[in-house]
């Protein structure tokens, strides 16, 4: 009862009803629904759970072979889908067609598939990883879209900064483009690199498994070695968020002040023996909702981040999530999948979001209407799209 009471108080606080945050109790629920959770619906967007692994075009909801894929919404309503067989396009009529035969996941860890392609509002091009380099899609109407190298070289790995053609990348895992057309990439899960004004510059200094140090960007430390982290944009053109995988936290990077701060993920408990851990400590390394820096955590690390420009929230999660959660107003709360059911209608439209269950999931992208594109490894058959009832679903 105490937990329920606190959760209720917490929800009230989250939506601004409470003047003061409640005193922290001894325990609280792992799942705390966001106040908006009941407003969300989920549509199958592309792919079909019965189609099989062979790539099929046609009606997007009848397509096959997309596997675990990403999403790149375009301003004109089309959505590009980077998948293992190339890049597909879903047009505004809902027809899915292959547009480029290059594998955009080949250069990434392909574990998360969030933020693997990005649209540049300044030049109208879509950017993606091509081998070791950064590529730019050139749209055509009479054949496969071309990919030209924008920076680095596809067949040469390295970390050299410098002019676009002289710089080298190793494995571009995330691509972020802000309103000014500046490109930020997470390279080889280690280095945050800025591409602007014809130059590639590495922003962070301590690039290997170096601990958790906030403060000046050039001295900040991350624990990113091995499996992927993820980089995304934020509330303005000078903000990035990073899923700092093995620190189990989300980091916020202020590009204007060149500082790093931790914004979500409780610290690793000092006590490692479960029998001696407090209720709060036991929440570490689990999909725990709650106050972001003290009670919330991620299972198997923090694997992805994805900024929602409409709801002003940061979708984030670990690699072993079966709910979709966001960071908003200092809380990690469950928006989708609070009551996930094994046999939910995966290929239907308008499914109440609380019943959705996608395991090993991520929000791959959010469009300008605040609709979230969902992917998962448990059902490697494309994308779902979540939206609030008040928004226009398709």
């Amino acid at each position: 009862m105490r937990c329920i009471l606190f959760a209720t108080m917490l929800l009230g606080y989250a939506v601004g009803f409470g003047a003061e945050p409640p005193a922290e109790p001894d325990d609280m629920p792992l799942i705390i629904p966001d106040p908006s959770a009941g407003e969300w619906l989920v549509d199958r967007f592309a792919g079909n759970s019965t189609a099989g692994p062979t790539f099929l075009q046609g009606p997007a909801r009848e397509a096959g072979g997309l596997g675990r894929c990403g999403a790149c919404p375009l301003p004109d309503g089309r959505v590009l889908i980077p998948f293992g067989g190339g890049v597909a396009e879903v047009d505004t009529e809902g027809t899915l067609r292959l547009v480029a035969p290059v594998n955009p996941l080949n250069g990434t860890t392909a574990q998360v598939t969030a933020n693997v392609m990005a649209y540049n509002p300044k030049d109208g091009c879509v950017y993606l990883a091509v081998g070791h380099g950064l590529g730019r899609l050139i749209e055509r109407n009479d054949g496969p879209w071309k990919v030209e190298i924008a920076a680095g070289k596809a067949d040469h790995a390295g970390f050299d900064d410098g002019a676009l053609k002289d710089a080298r990348f190793t494995r571009i895992d995330s691509i972020v483009i802000n309103g000014r057309g500046e490109i930020y990439v997470l390279d080889y899960n280690q280095r945050i690199r800025r591409i602007a004004d014809g130059q590639v510059v590495t922003l962070n200094a301590s690039v290997r498994s170096a601990g958790l140090v906030d403060g000046p960007l050039e001295k900040a430390a991350f624990r990113m070695i091995g499996l992927g982290g993820n980089l995304c944009g934020g509330e303005d053109d000078d903000t990035l968020y990073l899923s700092d995988h093995w620190n189990f936290v989300v980091r916020r990077i202020d590009l204007k002040n060149k500082t790093v701060s931790t914004v979500a993920g409780m610290p690793k408990p000092k006590e490692s023996q479960p029998a001696k851990q407090s209720a709060r400590e036991k929440r570490y390394n689990r999909n725990s909702d709650g106050p972001a820096l003290t009670w919330a955590s991620f299972n198997s690390g923090c694997a992805y981040v994805c900024w929602d420009p409409v709801n002003k929230a940061l979708w984030c999660g670990g690699p072993d999530e079966n709910r979709f959660r966001w960071l908003k107003d200092g809380q990690i709360l469950t928006v989708i999948g609070a009551k996930g059911a094994e046999k939910w209608p995966k290929d239907a439209l308008g499914v109440p979001a609380e019943s959705v269950r996608l395991v090993w999931n991520a929000v791959a992208a959010v469009d300008s209407q605040g609709r979230a594109y969902l992917c998962a490894s448990s059902d490697p058959h494309g994308l779902w799209r979540a939206y609030r009832k008040s928004a226009q679903g398709r």
């Binding site: 009848e62 009529e93 054949g143 499996l227």
Partner: protein, 428 residues
């Protein structure tokens, strides 16, 4: 990169030498002929894909997709005859159905009643696929006045396959109708003259395949989910109706793809991969698994559906295996093809080299072959069929029934382009 083919040759030779007796089998069991292209400078601008082939009246007929099949594309099904010795008989290719719009994809072909029937999926209206078929004579002449629609309508009808009992053809596919959200498996009989019988539901989907083994049809399908990626099979009557409930013949894996062929007198051979490598350490071992389905439609060897817990060693039905995630290691994964050479089956499959930070990514796929008696490999290390530094994938295989075979496959040309290549194989 230039040293890679030489390094691969050294690796294969070293494996053969280490395995002594097997080296003799590699040398004597199968002769692999020179590689040759099927259509050079074709109308598809270097985009060729998804080959299939069949044998009849002394020649092979190879079909493939010619051209870009994505947005803005106009891919067509192209064919050529190839002699038993490996001579391309239609150097300019034969367009099976040079329609005005849309794209044609994923052809399959079978021989019976003196003709080759070719079936494919066609995005004719630019919105959804239909299943379409046509016929071609062993002399290379298109036989029907126009392609026939086997399955149409406003929803996707896709992934057809075809087999023949010698007098007619059975076409299987997966499709959607009405407001359904789940694909169903269907079959229909098509005569050598192009008359299409009624569609019947088979219960086999997705990726349905069908094979005739001299006495009966078997359909197999599967691969729909992460946990439900099993391959199921069921015998079909000559009208396509199932003769029972589908039986699981190969246990689930991620994204199951498989091949199916008849084994006269014994049943059918199903081949499918096992687990992919996984950076979290869960994946593996990888394997290319063979299961002999007997005349009753049940798996004769059970290692495809029931493995020892924590299996680490190669099981009897495994044609290939990947276990180590280290530089130089290989991993079988993806498409395969099989055919009966008159004495036993021959299987060709994909074997990838590993790369990446954790050696769990694929690079440079080769094609490997083995003769298979029932479900047991006679060439345990595998015989390289195509092992250049280019990607060689998506094999198809047909046999003359007397030890001669034609293997066709996609070969990467860079920039997303692929060419269809072929080699004549001869087993001893």
């Amino acid at each position: 990169m230039n040293g890679e083919p030489a390094m691969k040759t050294i690796m294969y030779c070293a494996a053969a030498v280490l395995l002594g007796v097997q080296a003799v089998a590699v040398a004597q069991g199968m002769k692999v002929g020179d590689e040759f292209p099927l259509l050079v400078n074709g109308p598809g601008g270097g985009y060729q894909g998804t080959p299939a082939c069949a044998f009849g009246q002394g020649i092979y007929l190879v079909v493939w997709r010619e051209g870009w099949h994505g947005k803005g594309g106009s891919a067509r099904i192209c064919a050529t005859r190839v002699s038993a010795e490996g001579k391309v008989l239609d150097a300019g290719g034969i367009q099976i159905a040079p329609a005005a719009g849309g794209v044609q994809e994923r052809p399959r072909v079978a021989f019976g009643a003196g003709v080759f029937v070719v079936v494919w999926q066609e995005l004719r209206n630019g919105r959804d696929y239909d299943v379409v078929a046509s016929a071609i004579s062993p002399e290379g002449k298109l036989l029907w006045t126009a392609p026939v629609v086997v399955a149409g309508g406003p929803r996707n009808q896709v992934l057809p396959d075809v087999a023949s009992n010698g007098s007619s053809f059975l076409i299987v596919w997966q499709g959607l109708s009405g407001e359904e959200t789940a694909y169903r498996g269907y079959a229909a009989v098509v005569s050598g003259e192009g008359k299409v019988g009624p569609a019947v539901e088979t219960g086999i989907t997705p990726q349905p395949r069908v094979a005739w083994n001299g006495t009966a049809y078997l359909a197999a399908g599967g691969g729909a989910g992460f946990w439900q990626g099993s391959v199921y099979a069921v015998r079909l009557g000559e009208n396509g109706a199932p003769l029972g409930k589908p039986v699981e013949v190969i246990k689930g894996t991620k994204a199951a793809v498989f091949s199916l062929s008849g084994v006269p007198g014994r049943g059918w051979l199903v081949v499918s991969h096992r687990s992919p490598p996984d950076p979290w350490g869960w994946g593996g071992p990888g394997a290319m698994r063979a299961v002999l389905v007997n005349a009753d439609g049940r798996p004769e060897n059970t290692d495809g559906v029931k493995e020892p817990a924590g299996v680490k060693e190669q099981l009897p039905g495994w044609l290939d295996m990947g276990r180590e995630k280290t530089k130089g290691s290989t991993w079988p994964w993806g498409a395969s093809a099989s055919a009966f050479d008159g004495k036993r089956s021959v299987v060709v499959w994909q074997r990838h080299h590993l790369c990446g930070e954790k050696m769990t990514n694929f690079t440079n796929c080769d094609l490997i072959a083995a003769r298979v008696d029932g479900y047991r490999s006679l060439d345990v290390t595998g015989i390289p069929v195509a092992a250049s530094e280019a990607e060689e994938t998506c094999p198809a295989l047909a046999s003359d029934g007397a030890g001669g075979l034609l293997a066709v496959y996609e070969k990467g040309q860079g920039d997303g382009r692929t060419a269809i290549m072929a080699r004549v194989l001869r087993t001893e």
